[in-house]
């Protein structure tokens, strides 16, 4: 399996706070749909690793970085399915 086939995501969260929790749950669900064959989600807590957030230029949490798509960013709880799926890859978009 090559690099392109794997969906790489990084989700910045703010501990156990509500939007972060929802964002994680939504992301898992959508990744499963968008890339059933392979995806990897990295979770970074800004309180635990603030330097990493700074290096990625993340000022707001939760925030999703889709690495494999050229670092598309989405801030918030990822509840807008259409936007997130688009970010994850146009090939799985459904009208």
């Amino acid at each position: 399996m090559n690099e392109e086939a794997t969906l790489l995501c990084r989700l910045y969260i703010a501990g156990d706070s509500p939007n972060s929790r929802r964002a994680l749950a939504n992301l898992r669900e959508l990744c499963r749909r968008a890339a059933p064959n392979g995806h990897h989600i990295e979770i970074v807590d800004i309180f635990a690793d603030p330097l990493r957030a700074l290096s990625d230029g993340v000022m707001l949490a939760p925030q999703l970085l889709v690495i494999s798509k050229g670092s598309v960013r989405i801030v918030g709880d990822l509840s807008d399915e259409t936007v997130v799926l688009a970010a994850l890859g146009s090939e799985v978009r459904r009208s």
Partner: protein
């Protein structure tokens, strides 16, 4: 610088306020921009800021988690098991309270079993006894943590000082996203464990026992479904000891054809607890086919649930092989036995015959013989069966050889004899395993033997029974046989004789005579007969000796009697004849050889026949025997001669020469001559005519005595009762046979004292009369009028007394009843008289009281007094009415009454009166006749009886009212005074109350006799009932038992068939007056004026007269007169009735109303009103007076 310094620094406060405002605004703005979807922001310098919403959420979330953690801890702490949570490395992460407590109690310091410590290290550090357990535990924990086993469980002892303790340790893995590790649980199972240890011990024993017996054990815990096998089970199945398998695997060991069966049995055991025990085949792991016996049973817990199935398992292949071998050998034996011509059989050790060979079936002709039920016995001769069973049972018991003979029934039904022998077969231990028997046909030998024995017995019996003496001597002159008679005659017992010679036993005299004779008989080979006299014994013997091959048989008999008789006869012949002449009887001597008869002179004296008349032939005597007796007498003589009797006796009638018939008693002696032939008959005829007559007379007299109803008894002074006639049998119940010879005193008297006094009186005065209480055979009492006379014997000495006893028991009862009736009659007359006068007074009091009440008004105080007076007078009237009822002086108006209906009508009233404590039952006779009685009086009587019954049942009880048709027969009437036989309707009232003593019963009907407390009863209730019923022509019976209750029966006369039935009592009419003219005749001025006043107040015109004559003046006048109202009893020569008759002769249609305090025959005949006669009973109320007057007037018009 501290925070508070900053805050307090002047000028900073405003700036801080502004910054906070900015912070707030910033947060608000971020929230707006991100639609609230951002939790935190990060500044480029590093720090992140949690926004307010997220902070709120997290605070709440942490609080909830803390709470949950606390709850979980509380729950864990409450669990009695000791819990410890380990992490992946075995470090203790958390423990519950039970764990901590246990740790403290066991002196473990905090660091030993507390959070943070490695559990594995703790275990490894344990030394000493528990180290083994601890290392096992550690190994288990490691295995669970590494995922090698899903769980680990062990049981270990952890005894506290002085107390055994057992723990179970369970280790389970814990795998959650945030925790990997294991949970260690220790539980105290001491209570459970001790029981298990005991069980283990028992199981150990069983295991040992099983090993010895080569019996294996197995068990299955139904939860685990794993079969545990003992080593023996493993051995049988050829698997390694300790092998454990599933149920399916265990079943698979069974040979295919048996699997279904074992599965079914096991399932039934597991499901319903049905135990099993069966023999099946398995195929062992090494492929050996083995017979096993498998036993299974269910084990239940305390709640009765089946928790385990366990059982035993045994290799029985050897046994099976042996059995198979036995079957083969038995078959061989049977084939062999069947080939035998003689009968053969085998039996089990207990004696049950299990096989008989073909020969047996051929003999009995059937193969349908159920051997095990002992049916072979049915072919034995019935006489032999018990003997065979007895001998056989004894042989089986003792285990010894058996031999018996019996008869066996063959095909044709004939029996043949068999000699049967049997021998027990024993195994190496000496135990009997089988009986083998054979039967030899023994019939021929047996029948011959049997026949010989029978003949010998018969011969012996014959010898024994002959009346002659017989003995046999052999050629050496030794006794070989001596019969009974010979024993007696020789006077030696058989045992003393046998083997000895006569010459050793007989005395010199006998030997001298007999020896030459015997020797001659033997020598000459012929019999020798002789008679000889034995001087010492003073006996004559007739001896015959017969020579035989054996020796000599000797018959002999005692002929002394004959010799002496003949001698005596010869000597006394002359003397006899002389005496014969002198006697009053007729003596005869009949020579049987010549037929000549010699008669003494008595023949002529007694019967008038001279010697010339009768001649010498016997037929002259037979000619005069009464023709009706002749044949019988001749026959009896012939029989006596035939039997060679020594004497003959008969009674017959003999005809006198003058034609009269005499009664004869004739006795004769038959005399034998020297050859033993009948030679003569000698005898005498006595005239017993007089004696016969006397006997006849006595018999007739005795019959007469038997006719007497009195007991006639003779009591001898020596030997008790000597005469007992039929009357005595009847009175006392003892038959003549029972009484004769008994003591009169013991037979008839409970108290012998009066008897002794009477006896003394008889002895002193020669006779005695009096009354005696005696006892019958059945124990009942009898009273007799005794009349005793002393009897004397011929010498004048008293020899006994004659008792003539008349049974007066019944008479005494009747007398008592009569006395009582008479007493009641007397009292009745007395009370009747008093009541009459009293009624006159009451009439006035009652009437005036009524007027007073009306005039004064019942509400005014004087009026109330008058009302009280009226009430008292009315009660007085009720009492006098009862007195009159008792005295049978009340007027009765009898009508046909259906008692059942009347009981029904009064039911409600009775229940009200008697209260709830008394249960009332009515038993109404079917097809009940109507009774002829006065209905209101009967109701009153019934009520009285019921009230008495209630009062007798203080605390309640049952009252039964019963009706029935009754026929009083002569027998009943004879036992009760003053009752006529006939048909009655019975009304009975029974209670379950206190009952009465006999004394009280006898006085129950007397007026004013009461057992109730003073003021409770008038003592007139039963008196009224008695008087009423008697006056109605009925009868009252009273039966009472103390403590049981009382029944009173009223026998009321039956109404004539067709008589109309009475309708219910009509309701009292309203007071109704009139304007007619009424003539009042009354001798008592007070009463007369009172009645006149009352009638006037009712609107009537009233004429008065104080006697009959005055009244007739009015009648004869031409004044208007509508009713004659007259007293019945009046002085002055004319009573009410006579006045009425006289008045009607003048004015025939003049209605008459009588009034009376009591009634006399003037108007009341036999206690009943004549039809069409009106009577107003004194005292009466104004309403009654008015109503009666109206009734009379209406009747007149109608």
């Amino acid at each position: 610088m501290t925070g508070s310094d900053v805050y307090e620094a002047k000028g900073h406060a405003d700036e801080l306020a502004r910054l906070v405002e900015t912070l707030h605004e910033t947060q608000q703005r971020i929230r707006e921009l991100t639609a609230g979807s951002v939790d935190a922001v990060t500044h480029s310098s590093g720090p992140s800021y949690l926004l307010a919403d997220a902070q709120d959420y997290l605070r709440a979330s942490e609080a909830a988690q803390r709470r949950h953690a606390a709850e979980r801890a509380a729950i864990l702490d409450a669990i009695p098991s000791h819990l410890a949570l380990l992490d992946e490395s075995g470090r203790i992460v958390a423990v519950n309270e039970a764990w901590r407590r246990f740790a403290r109690a066991n002196g473990l310091s905090g660091e030993n079993a507390a959070v943070g410590e490695s559990y594995l290290d703790v275990c490894d550090r344990v030394r000493g006894e528990a180290s083994e357990t601890a290392s096992e535990a550690a190994a288990g924990v490691r295995a669970v943590l590494s995922g090698q086993v899903p769980r680990f469980m062990t049981k270990y002892p952890c005894h506290a000082p002085g107390e055994p303790r057992w723990f179970r340790m369970i280790v389970v893995p814990v795998r959650t996203p945030d925790h990997m590790g294991a949970l260690v649980i220790h539980r105290d199972i001491t209570a459970q464990s001790i029981a298990e240890i005991e069980l283990d011990k028992v199981n150990d024993l069983l295991r040992i026992a099983g090993r010895v017996a080569r019996i294996g054990g197995w068990s299955i815990d139904l939860g685990a479904e794993r079969v545990e096998w003992s080593d023996e089970v493993c051995r049988i199945r050829d698997v390694e000891p300790g092998t454990a398998v599933t149920v399916e695997q265990a079943i698979a060991f069974y040979a295919p054809e048996w699997r279904g069966r074992i599965m079914a049995m096991f399932d039934a055991c597991r499901r319903d607890g049905t135990p099993y025990d069966d023999e099946l085949e398995i195929i062992s792991a090494k492929g050996h086919r083995r017979w096993v016996r498998t036993i299974g049973e269910a084990v239940r817990d305390e709640a009765g649930r089946i928790v385990r199935v366990q059982g035993a398992f045994q290799d029985i292949s050897e046994q099976k092989r042996a059995e198979a071998a036995l079957i083969v050998s038995e078959r061989r034996f049977r084939e062999f036995a069947d080939a035998l011509p003689q009968l053969a059989w085998t039996a089990e050790p207990d004696g049950t015959v299990d096989f008989v060979n073909r020969a047996f079936y051929e003999v009995v002709g059937t193969i349908a013989v159920d051997l095990r039920n002992g049916e072979w016995l049915s072919f034995l001769h019935p006489d032999d069966r018990q003997r065979v069973v007895d001998v056989w049972s004894a042989a089986v018991r003792s285990g010894t050889d058996y031999a018996v003979d019996f008869r066996l029934r063959g095909v044709g039904g004939d029996y043949r004899w068999y000699l049967v022998t049997a021998t027990p077969i024993r195994d190496e231990t000496g135990t009997i395993v089988k009986w083998y028997g054979t039967a030899l046909d023994d019939h021929e030998r047996w029948t011959v033997e049997q026949e010989n024995r029978r003949l010998a017995e018969r011969l012996s019996r014959t010898f024994e029974s002959i009346s002659d003496g017989l003995y046999i001597v052999d050629r050496e002159w030794r006794f070989t046989f001596v019969n009974d008679q010979a024993e007696r005659l020789i006077r030696h017992e058989r045992a003393q004789l046998l083997g000895r010679t006569p010459w050793e036993v007989f005395d010199a005299e006998a030997t001298r005579v007999l020896r030459p004779a015997y020797e001659r008989a033997v020598r000459e080979g012929r019999s020798v007969r002789l008679e000889f006299f034995h001087p010492r014994l003073e006996m004559w013997f007739d001896v015959t000796a017969y020579p035989s091959e054996e020796g000599l048989a000797v018959y002999f008999r005692d002929v002394t009697e004959r010799h002496s008789a003949e001698e005596r006869l010869r000597e006394s012949e002359a003397r006899f004849r002389a005496v014969a002449r002198a006697t009053a009887d007729v003596i005869w001597d009949w020579d049987l050889k010549t037929g000549a008869v010699w008669w003494s002179d008595g023949l002529e004296l007694l019967f008038g026949y001279s010697k010339e008349d009768v001649g010498t032939g016997v037929d002259t005597w037979t000619d005069h025997v009464h023709p009706d007796d002749r044949d019988r007498v001749m026959r009896s003589i012939a029989e006596a001669i035939e039997r060679r009797d020594e004497h003959w006796q008969d009674e017959y009638r003999f005809v006198h020469k003058d034609g009269s018939v005499r009664e004869i008693e004739d006795r004769g002696y038959l005399i034998l001559d020297e050859q033993g032939e009948l030679a003569r008959a000698v005898g005498g005829m006595s005239d017993i005519t007089e004696r016969k007559r006397a006997e006849q007379r006595i018999a007739e007299q005795a019959a007469l005595l038997d006719q007497a109803r009195d007991a006639i008894v003779v009591r001898s002074f020596d030997g008790g009762v000597s005469f007992w006639n039929r009357g005595a049998e009847h009175i006392y119940g003892w038959t003549r046979d029972e009484a004769i010879g008994q003591s009169m005193e013991l037979l008839l008297y409970d108290d012998p004292e009066p008897f002794r006094r009477a006896w003394e009186a008889v002895m002193a005065q020669g006779e005695w009369r009096g009354r005696l209480a005696q006892r019958r055979k059945d124990g009942s009492a009898v009273t007799v009028e005794a009349n005793w006379t002393l009897l004397h014997d011929g010498t004048g000495a008293p020899r006994g007394f004659l008792a003539i006893n008349t049974d007066i028991t019944q008479r005494l009862v009747l007398e008592e009843q009569l006395r009582q009736a008479q007493r009641l009659e007397t009292v009745g007359q007395l009370t009747g008289g008093v009541a009459h006068d009293f009624n006159n007074l009451l009439t006035v009091i009652l009437g005036n009281a009524e007027l007073l009440v009306e005039d004064l008004g019942a509400e005014s105080p004087p009026g109330a007094l008058a009302a009280t007076m009226r009430l008292a007078a009315e009660r007085g009237a009720e009492l006098t009415a009862r007195l009159l009822a008792f005295a049978r002086r009340q007027p009765l108006d009898p009508k046909p009454v259906d008692l059942n209906r009347m009981i029904g009508d009064t039911d409600a009233l009775l229940r009200r009166t008697l209260g709830e404590q008394v249960e009332i039952e009515t038993v109404r006779g079917g097809g009940l006749w109507n009774a002829l009685v006065d209905p209101p009086q009967l109701e009153s009587a019934l009520l009285n009886l019921c009230i008495n019954a209630r009062d007798a049942m203080g605390s309640g009880g049952k009252l039964t009212i019963e009706t029935a048709n009754v026929r009083l027969d002569d027998e009943y009437v004879a036992l009760h005074a003053d009752v006529a036989p006939g048909q009655y309707v019975m009304l009975a009232v029974s209670d379950t109350g206190t009952g009465m003593t006999a004394d009280v019963v006898s006085r129950a009907f007397e007026p004013f006799f009461t057992t109730k407390p003073a003021g409770k009863g008038s003592g007139l209730g039963l008196s009224m009932v008695y008087g009423f019923v008697k006056q109605s022509g009925g009868h009252v019976g009273i039966y009472s038992e103390l403590g049981q209750g009382t029944t009173i029966r009223l026998y009321l006369p039956r109404a004539p068939i067709g008589a109309e039935q009475s309708v219910g009592a009509d309701t009292g009419p309203a007071i109704e007056g009139g304007s007619e003219t009424i003539l009042v005749v009354e001798d008592d001025a007070l009463v007369r004026e009172h009645v006149a006043d009352q009638l006037r107040s009712l609107g009537y015109s009233v004429l008065t007269a104080q006697n009959g004559a005055e009244a007739l003046d009015h009648v004869r006048s031409d004044r208007r007169l509508d009713v004659l109202f007259t007293d019945v009893v009046m002085p002055g020569g004319m009573n009410g009735r006579e006045l009425a008759d006289a008045a009607r002769s003048v004015r025939p249609r003049l209605p008459v109303l009588f009034t009376s305090g009591y009634t006399e025959n003037a108007v009341v005949h036999h206690g009943r009103l004549d039809p069409g006669v009106h009577l107003l009973q004194k005292p009466y109320r104004r309403q009654q007076l008015a109503a009666k007057i109206r009734q009379v007037l209406v009747d007149k018009k109608g």
